[in-house]
């Protein structure tokens, strides 16, 4: 009995999502057209539309044109994006970022709080303080919460299996937050969320399989396939690579050569080799590197070449194995601009067939809120079936 009840509820939820999505995306705007579009029986459509109107998710907005065969003019339906709000959270090593959005992804408010060398449960406390900051700003009922975290997340359960930066192992984060906020919580890797953010809000509608390469304190990749997150991406920081550095080659984990802490140390070494460099001793950013490189600074040029060498390897693996139609580079490195992206693409062409590289579109994902916005998109996708 329980199983059949669950199935009926699941079916009802699925049918509601079909109808909402059809109105949201403009595929149909009245009950008859919805029945035709979704294949659902007219009484089922009427019943569910009545429910969605009662909940404020749809409104009736007058009469449309009657069909060529005449008959009654249909009542037009419209999606109400402000009827609910969604919170998206992105967890970085040093900061928790949150966005409060309506159901069309329009940002109402943002909130952030810094993390200072903490791990374990205190990180969850700060996450909650950020969510609370956005709860205080709600203009409509909270629909759900999405969250992107670095590391590996079990698909579906929201259990963070491994996030070494925070000392998290098998942490039931979705369950903890659901109990606290009495709202559905959806959790995935933050690069996966970033890919969802790009897919939903950041790129042309014809992209079907975008990949995001996210470079911060870790190196992570996320992918969307057929409109849904491909849940086997995530943290690739520990992959081993070898590279040529001057006369010798060296082998190490990807994070050894590309993570921000490494790049700062490498810049320090290069500063010693090139005392006239304009790279600042403190407060170094990717922007400083690019600016100095453009002005012929030898230390900065070396650093940019090393970064692009390794990213070209990462891009070529992705292109050869996943064959995406779009790759976006995300994280602080985006400040280095199109020049660096072009350099990576040119180097990737030497590593895989140039035709394969040329079949992919490349872009910079410039929003710092991309993972948080992706978390909003993922939550909306799961809760109401609303993405693109």
């Amino acid at each position: 009995m329980t199983a059949s009840k669950a199935t009926r509820e699941q079916l009802r939820r699925h049918n509601r999502q079909l109808l909402l999505h059809a109105v949201y995306s403009g595929l149909a705007d009245n009950r008859a057209a919805l029945a035709q579009e979704t294949g659902l029986a007219k009484p089922t459509v009427s019943d569910l539309i009545g429910e969605l109107i009662a909940e404020g998710l749809l409104i009736e907005v007058g009469r449309g044109q009657s069909t060529d065969s005449g008959g009654k003019r249909p009542t037009l339906l419209q999606f109400v994006p402000d009827a609910r709000q969604v919170i998206g959270i992105s967890l970085d090593v040093d900061r928790v970022r949150g966005v409060l959005c309506n159901m069309a992804g329009k940002i109402i408010a943002q909130h952030h709080a810094n993390l200072f060398d903490i791990e374990g449960h205190p990180v969850i406390d700060i996450v909650q303080h950020v969510i609370n900051g956005l709860i205080a700003q709600l203009d409509a009922p909270l629909l759900c919460i999405g969250m992107g975290v670095p590391g590996i997340v079990e698909n579906g359960s929201g259990v963070v299996q491994y996030a070494p930066q925070f000392g998290w192992h098998n942490l039931p984060l979705a369950q903890i937050l659901t109990e606290c906020y009495q709202a559905p919580v959806y959790i995935a890797n933050k690069a996966e969320m970033a890919a969802m953010g790009q897919y939903a809000f950041g790129m042309p509608n014809d992209s079907r399989s975008p990949v995001v390469v996210l470079l911060n304190s870790t190196i992570e990749i996320g992918m969307v396939l057929g409109g849904a997150i491909y849940h086997n991406g995530g943290d690739i920081s520990s992959l081993h690579i070898s590279r040529q550095l001057g006369q010798h080659s060296e082998t190490g984990r990807l994070e050894t050569f590309l993570s921000w802490p490494y790049l700062k140390r490498r810049a320090e070494l290069l500063r010693n080799e090139h005392p006239n460099t304009t790279l600042p001793a403190t407060g170094l950013t990717f922007m400083h590197m690019q600016y100095a490189a453009l002005h012929g600074d030898a230390a900065a040029i070396t650093l940019v070449e090393e970064i692009t060498d390794i990213l070209a390897q990462v891009f070529s693996w992705i292109i050869a194995m996943l064959r995406p139609d779009h790759i976006s580079l995300a994280g602080g490195i985006v400040d280095m601009g199109e020049t660096v992206l072009n350099r990576i693409m040119a180097k990737a062409e030497a590593l895989v067939q140039p035709e394969l590289v040329q079949s992919v579109r490349f872009s910079l994902a410039e929003s710092y809120e991309l993972s948080a916005l992706g978390a909003v998109a993922e939550a909306l996708q799961n809760e109401l079936g609303l993405v693109r």
Partner: protein, 272 residues
């Protein structure tokens, strides 16, 4: 029974920014059943006084910009009294705040001046550098110059202190030096307006020869046709009050709520 009361600490309740913030606070406070009292400390800037609010008897406190000392704000926070800051942070404390998105606004403004108006040589009129907004806007401005491969030369960063008279003196000095620049960007709109007036008096055509832009919007900026970044200050007050009431209702909040701003392209930036 006495109504719960929100206290506002401000330096001058009649200033444009402060007045709009206070209106926003009053609107949400009234809807939520709170009274509001205002402690305006420096209406006479030469004779500022200390806080007279008996804050311990209030339900919560909204403090606007740098109206009072960080020590007092820290003391209020540590006593457990709900407090929200507007356009200000107290370093080393988790006191929650609400602010406009200076990063987004400055990035969009510089992009507009460089990409759309083809400007390369900027004068920057600085804000009062003990205020959070001034520090953030200048930091982002310097960062954005690098994005477009433009140098940050210190002589083109002039003092303004969010005070049109101080900004005017700096612009006069720069004009006397007869140095070349093709854009003036000010940390607020009032300083931008005074810069525009001085340039025009000196026979410099705006925007044909020099583009002018500011930060923040008001009827005076609209009347002057000034390109600027519009922050909804009423909304800032409303959101700060919601943050405060959230705390009164038991939410523990740390960090900063930021509100989006809008680039207002008017007549002073790009030549027709």
């Amino acid at each position: 029974m006495k109504k719960p009361t929100i206290g506002i600490i401000t330096n001058n309740q009649y200033g444009v920014f402060q007045r709009d913030t206070i209106s926003g606070v009053r609107e949400i406070a009234q809807q939520s059943g709170y009274e509001v009292i205002v402690d305006s400390l420096a209406e006479d800037p030469l004779h500022p006084r200390s806080v007279s609010l008996d804050w311990q008897k209030l339900t919560g406190v909204v403090a606007i910009a740098n109206a009072t000392s960080d020590e007092l704000l820290r003391q209020i926070y540590e006593s457990g009294k709900p407090i929200s800051l507007v356009g200000h942070r107290v370093p080393g404390t988790p006191i929650p705040a609400v602010t406009s998105n200076n990063n987004q606004g400055m990035a969009e403004l510089v992009k507009h001046l460089v990409k759309s108006c083809d400007r390369r040589k900027f004068v920057y009129i600085r804000g009062e550098m003990n205020q959070d907004d001034a520090i953030q806007r200048e930091t982002v401005f310097r960062h954005e110059l690098m994005r477009y491969n433009l140098p940050a030369e210190e002589m083109y960063f002039v003092r303004g202190d969010f005070d049109p008279e101080i900004a005017a003196a700096s612009i006069r000095e720069l004009l006397e030096l007869q140095v070349y620049f093709d854009a003036v960007l000010a940390a607020d709109y009032q300083m931008a307006i005074v810069a525009m007036e001085l340039l025009q008096m000196a026979g410099i055509k705006v925007p044909e020869e020099v583009s002018i832009a500011g930060f923040g919007d008001a009827p005076a900026a609209q009347a002057a046709g000034l390109t600027t970044v519009s922050a909804d200050i009423l909304e800032l007050g409303r959101r700060a009050t919601r943050q405060l009431i959230g705390q009164v209702n038991g939410l523990t909040i740390q960090g900063v709520t930021t509100l989006s701003v809008q680039l207002m392209i008017r007549a002073t930036s790009c030549p027709a």
